[in-house]
């Protein structure tokens, strides 16, 4: 074979592999969306789930998912930001730093069921938080931290060193340089990281079954008092999320339309996660353009 032929053969083979990946993705997305889309209606999105009769919706589950997401980010973002700044800007290259990095790696590879059971024992039982959004949010923080830390650290790392030197040479403190120069430059990357990790949180089920619970009490969307048990803002109430709902409807659903509820919910879940992904890219690009003066 001539070099030309080998090259062509290799190229074809690589293209074939890529094609398989793309086809798998398209098939999955297509199947979920095509079978779920007909079941999505305004009624489906805005009415509460019913336990026995047909015609239930996913209003509370959808809200729970979003609320859990916000709560998780409120807990995990400051932690991740601090750790990432430390790792990227302050930490030296020593055994302690590599210990932290290994810990973060391990955290990210924990099976979610294990984290769920651990959360159940520690938060739900030991700390008496009960099946609650708060327990769920803390459990999800475990997954979220490694993703966020790594993406923020990566974004900070991508800021050229000359920017740090510029700040320091002007007599600015290290912290002032980080806050005023490095973080704004890293912001598009950080935002993308947050949104991508949000997709992960949104789709998580196993860890939530044991922490946020599987029941969705009827919520009162007019009660803004977060301490009231029926309030939609109460973080101490059990909350079934969309992903958990899909799992539950499929395992023990007794409603006659369980299959279509599951299909519709899956489609909604996928569409929202896709929106997160596209949104991350769009926001990242836009901020980058704005900062670099449209160049």
């Amino acid at each position: 074979m001539t070099p030309n032929q080998t090259d062509r053969l290799a190229t074809r083979f690589i293209q074939f592999l890529v094609l398989i990946v793309v086809l798998i993705l398209l098939f999955l997305l297509g199947d979920i969306i095509i079978s779920g889309l007909p079941h999505i209606s305004w009624h489906f999105l805005t009415s509460p789930a019913s336990s026995f009769s047909a015609g239930g919706g996913i209003r509370d589950q959808l809200f729970n998912s979003l609320y859990l997401l916000v709560l998780t980010l409120i807990i995990s973002f400051p932690l991740a930001l601090g750790s990432a700044i430390y790792l990227s800007e302050y930490a030296g290259d020593n055994w302690f730093t590599s210990l932290i990095r290994t810990a973060i790696e391990v955290l990210s590879s924990l099976p979610s069921v294990v984290v769920g059971l651990f959360g159940y024992l520690l938060f739900v039982i030991e700390f008496h938080l009960g099946f609650s959004i708060l327990s769920g949010a803390i459990a999800l923080t475990f997954f979220n931290l490694p993703l966020l830390i790594r993406s923020i650290e990566g974004s900070l790392h991508a800021v050229p060193n000359s920017q740090r030197e510029a700040g320091i040479a002007l007599g600015l403190s290290n912290w002032r340089t980080i806050r005023g120069i490095l973080l704004p430059m890293a912001l598009p990357g950080i935002l993308t990281g947050i949104i991508l990790s949000a997709g992960r949180i949104f789709g998580e089920a196993a860890a939530l079954i044991y922490t946020a619970g599987q029941s969705a009490p009827i919520l009162d969307y007019t009660n803004w008092n977060p301490t009231a048990s029926s309030s939609f803002l109460n973080p101490m109430r059990p909350a079934e999320t969309l992903a958990v709902h899909i799992w539950k409807v499929n395992t023990e659903g007794v409603t006659p339309d369980a299959v279509s509820i599951s299909a519709g919910s899956s489609a909604v879940l996928i569409i929202i996660i896709l929106l997160f992904n596209f949104g991350a890219r769009a926001i990242g690009n836009r901020m980058y353009k704005k900062m670099t003066g449209g160049k």
């Binding site: 920017q163 510029a166 040479a169 002007l170 007599g171 120069i181 704004p184 900062m291 003066g293 160049k295």
Partner: protein
């Protein structure tokens, strides 16, 4: 490379007022036993341009970066750096204050990803200047001094990253002099610029030397001879010769200097 006697040197002390001087400065990077810079004792005349020349790895940038303590986190610097009768190489000295008095401009233009105005006002605000009038005044004066005002005065709110390389470098100079430093250190400021931008920058530097003491590292010997009044030649971490620029380029005392400036080096 021809081996020169590194301990043979010829170093003058310029007459008149001295802005900054170093005494037996030695720099070691990290835990390295091998010093990157040894026994550098130089005095820099006030309101003059001094050029530091030498081959790559000669220690001139290392030396320059020690002068405003930029090497603090990466190297150990021994010896004295005397500024206004204070040894600013002492751990007790407030390095942030030092850097406000001794500004630095780098090889590659490194404006912040902010507007032209904010590039200049950011450090000023951090230093506690909040009066809008004063800030505006400083922006205008420093941009004028850096010969950039006429080109940017209508788009002060535009991102600094949209400027050309030469403009960015002059913005970096403006940013430094807005802090009203005494001394300006420039580390090969023209090496990333085209000849026209370089020429403009050199004119700017000469203009700035009326009010600032300037120390410039350069690879470009023509540049050194064009802009500076004193020149120091560095070789393998040693200062070999320091004298008036004319003397260095026309009648150097040391053989190594002669070989370097005539291009018979290495």
């Amino acid at each position: 490379m021809q081996a020169y006697d590194l301990n043979k040197n010829h170093i003058v002390t310029p007459p008149g007022e001295i802005a900054l001087s170093t005494n037996q400065l030695q720099v070691n990077y990290g835990n390295s036993k091998q010093a990157s810079m040894v026994n550098a004792s130089l005095s820099f005349p006030r309101f003059q341009i001094t050029a530091l020349i030498g081959a790559s790895g000669s220690g001139k940038s290392t030396y320059l970066r020690s002068l405003n303590r930029m090497n603090d986190r990466i190297a150990t610097v021994h010896g004295e750096i005397m500024y206004h009768n204070t040894n600013i190489n002492s751990p007790k000295v407030n390095v942030y204050e030092v850097r406000k008095h001794i500004g630095m401009v780098f090889q590659k233009p490194n404006p912040f990803a902010k507007s032209i105005t904010e590039n200049i006002t950011f450090a000023l605000k951090a230093a506690g200047i909040t009066n809008r009038q004063e800030l505006r005044q400083r922006v205008e004066t420093s941009l004028k001094e850096a010969a950039l005002w006429d080109e940017v005065k209508d788009d002060l709110n535009k991102s600094a990253l949209a400027l050309s390389g030469g403009q960015q470098q002059r913005l970096c100079i403006a940013r430094s002099i807005a802090m009203k430093p005494d001394i300006l250190l420039l580390d090969e400021p023209a090496s990333a610029l085209d000849p026209i931008s370089t020429a403009k920058l050199e004119v700017t530097l000469k203009e700035l030397a009326k009010n600032y003491t300037i120390i410039i590292v350069t690879h470009n010997m023509q540049q050194a001879s064009r802009v500076s009044s004193y020149t120091a030649f560095f070789h393998l971490g040693h200062v070999i010769e320091y004298d008036q620029t004319e003397t260095i380029f026309q009648t150097p005392t040391i053989q190594a200097t002669h070989d370097y400036v005539t291009g018979n080096f290495g």
